[in-house]
């Protein structure tokens, strides 16, 4: 395999983004096109699923062409097409998956079905030749909050996940209740940078001892209760301070659990992924904690944290070299789990 370069076309359409990318040998991103639909969604205060999938249909062809053009390659140079088949919004997933199947069939290259969360994890490999398993990763985004042990390429053990709201979802909901807009992550981060995180001591939910699961609904209720009380007592809402206090409560729990995971498993590298990996407090908190403990911390470039197709192409590469191809009857699975195997040929 090593004597020839491998080019994978990655396609991602599981939620907001229609994205396509060409990645060489799993790590070198030659193009990474993201057609962000955020502007369209903003009036609704969240992602609107069918608006999303209809727009995917309009954009996917253009995005794939652009990804090829920017890489300087053609469809015939591609060794395989990798595509997200779950988890995500079923209508949105089907657009990308059907498009990828058609390409795979017409150009006669293998189809590689990729789990979106596995994609987020692989974002750490892109434009970086040093990150390699084993490592601990925190995947935190609008729909997911998982702590995963990456034992080897494509070999995962999920240590814990959220029991109610995902971390990014909590950011979105609190941002909405503070009138900070959508997406909530960057909005809260920005407001928090101007606020005092010790303003209110919101509850941190660590759950049972030795547990790597998360729960953010109690924190969400605590913030909403506080806002309610302010309204009833006509206390002015100190948005920046509340945002900072809320953010600190989320980040404390995320950081302490991921550190504990590294110490318990005696794995010395921590990688972040998912949109929440862009959060400045998470990065700085973990930066300090890891350097104090002699651990290594890595996070992908900002564009590679949120949904993108380069991460899907990278995950595809590691399946391609093991010849773990998918059948054409591969279906989109809205609630796909990390360990659910892809149907191999």
């Amino acid at each position: 395999m090593k004597d020839k370069d491998v080019y994978i076309l990655g396609i991602e359409s599981s939620c907001d983004e229609t994205a396509a990318s060409i990645v060489k040998n799993g790590r070198e991103s030659l193009s990474n096109i993201i057609y962000s639909q955020i502007e369209i969604h903003q009036p609704y205060g969240g992602v609107v699923p069918e608006v999303a999938s209809r727009n995917h249909i309009k954009k996917i062809d253009i995005i794939v062409d652009k990804a090829l053009e920017e890489s300087g390659l053609t469809l015939n140079d591609m060794d395989a097409v990798a595509v997200t088949y779950g988890p995500g919004l079923i209508g949105s997933l089907l657009v990308g998956l059907s498009f990828a199947k058609a390409l795979s069939y017409s150009v006669d290259i293998p189809l590689l079905g990729i789990n979106h969360i596995e994609g987020h994890i692989c974002a750490n490999y892109i434009n970086n030749y040093h990150v390699m398993p084993p490592f601990i990763t925190l995947v935190a985004s609008g729909g997911h909050t998982n702590i995963v042990v990456v034992k080897d390429y494509g070999v995962y053990e999920v240590l814990g996940q959220t029991r109610d709201d995902a971390a990014g979802e909590a950011f979105d909901k609190i941002s909405r209740s503070l009138d900070l807009g959508y997406p909530g992550g960057p909005a809260i981060d920005k407001a928090a940078s101007k606020g005092d995180s010790s303003f209110i001591n919101f509850p941190r939910s660590y759950l049972e001892e030795d547990c790597f699961d998360f729960s953010f609904s109690g924190l969400k209720s605590a913030v909403l209760n506080y806002l309610n009380t302010c309204k009833m007592k006509e206390i002015p809402i100190e948005t920046n301070n509340i945002a900072a206090s809320f953010q600190a409560a989320v980040i404390d729990v995320l950081a302490s659990k991921v550190i504990k995971a590294a110490l318990d498993t005696q794995i010395s590298t921590i990688c972040l992924s998912g949109g929440v990996a862009r959060n400045s407090l998470l990065r700085s908190t973990l930066g300090t904690m890891t350097s104090d403990l002699g651990l290594k911390l890595h996070f992908p470039e900002p564009d590679l944290c949120s949904d993108n197709a380069a991460m899907i192409a990278s995950a595809g590469y590691f399946k391609f070299i093991k010849e773990e191809y998918s059948h054409f009857d591969l279906n989109a699975i809205a609630n796909l789990k990390v360990k659910e195997p892809v149907d191999n040929i």
């Binding site: 939620c15 609704y44 969240g46 992602v47 609107v48 699923p49 069918e50 608006v51 999938s53 988890p87 995500g88 919004l89 079923i90 209508g91 609008g142 729909g143 996940q161 959220t162 029991r163 109610d164 709201d165 995902a166 979802e169 909901k173 909405r176 209740s177 609904s217 109690g218 969400k220 209720s221 909403l224 209760n225 309610n228 009380t229 809205a334 609630n335």
Partner: protein, 157 residues
């Protein structure tokens, strides 16, 4: 029927009782503001129906989460992000309603006019104390007598 819950745990327990007794084919519509306890109630209902899967999480992002008990399906929706029935209809929303399924819908009030008659409506309202909730159930006549008796446990004192 007006009920009362003092905590998210009690809301969950109320849901569990509902789930243990309700009959397949029913649509459970839940309304209440953010943080009222819609997901806690839904989690209780889904567990009460016998779902053993480890995680029953918020469907806000996924729109719908699906669970199985034997060959019966439970669909847990959060329609907040859609809000418009035509959008839901386009993804085959009505196909989820059948005799072998239970559909639980959070933010159902956003699509109130479009939901079928065999629905019960549960409104969770925040009152006085921060964890106190008033839970009213409409369509109670669709529930069997033993369940109605059980629910009296949560009646306002």
């Amino acid at each position: 029927m007006k009920l009362r819950s003092n905590s998210p745990n009690e809301t969950y327990d109320l849901g569990f009782t509902l789930g243990s007794y309700i009959e397949w084919g029913l649509i459970v519509c839940i309304e209440g503001e953010m943080g009222a306890g819609k997901t806690a109630l839904s989690q209780g209902i889904i567990r009460g129906l016998g779902v053993v899967e480890k995680y029953i999480t918020s469907p806000t992002y996924t729109l719908v989460n699906e669970y199985k008990v034997r060959d019966l399906s439970i669909y847990h929706f959060d329609v907040y992000r859609v809000g418009d029935y035509d959008e839901l209809s386009a993804i085959g929303f009505e196909e989820y309603f059948n005799e072998g399924s239970i559909v639980v819908i959070e933010w159902a009030d956003m699509i109130r006019e479009n939901l079928p008659d065999n629905s019960i409506w549960i409104n969770i309202e925040r009152v006085d104390h921060e964890n106190l909730r008033e839970i009213s159930i409409k369509g109670i006549e669709k529930l069997k007598k033993p369940l109605r008796e059980e629910l009296r446990k949560w009646e306002k004192i």
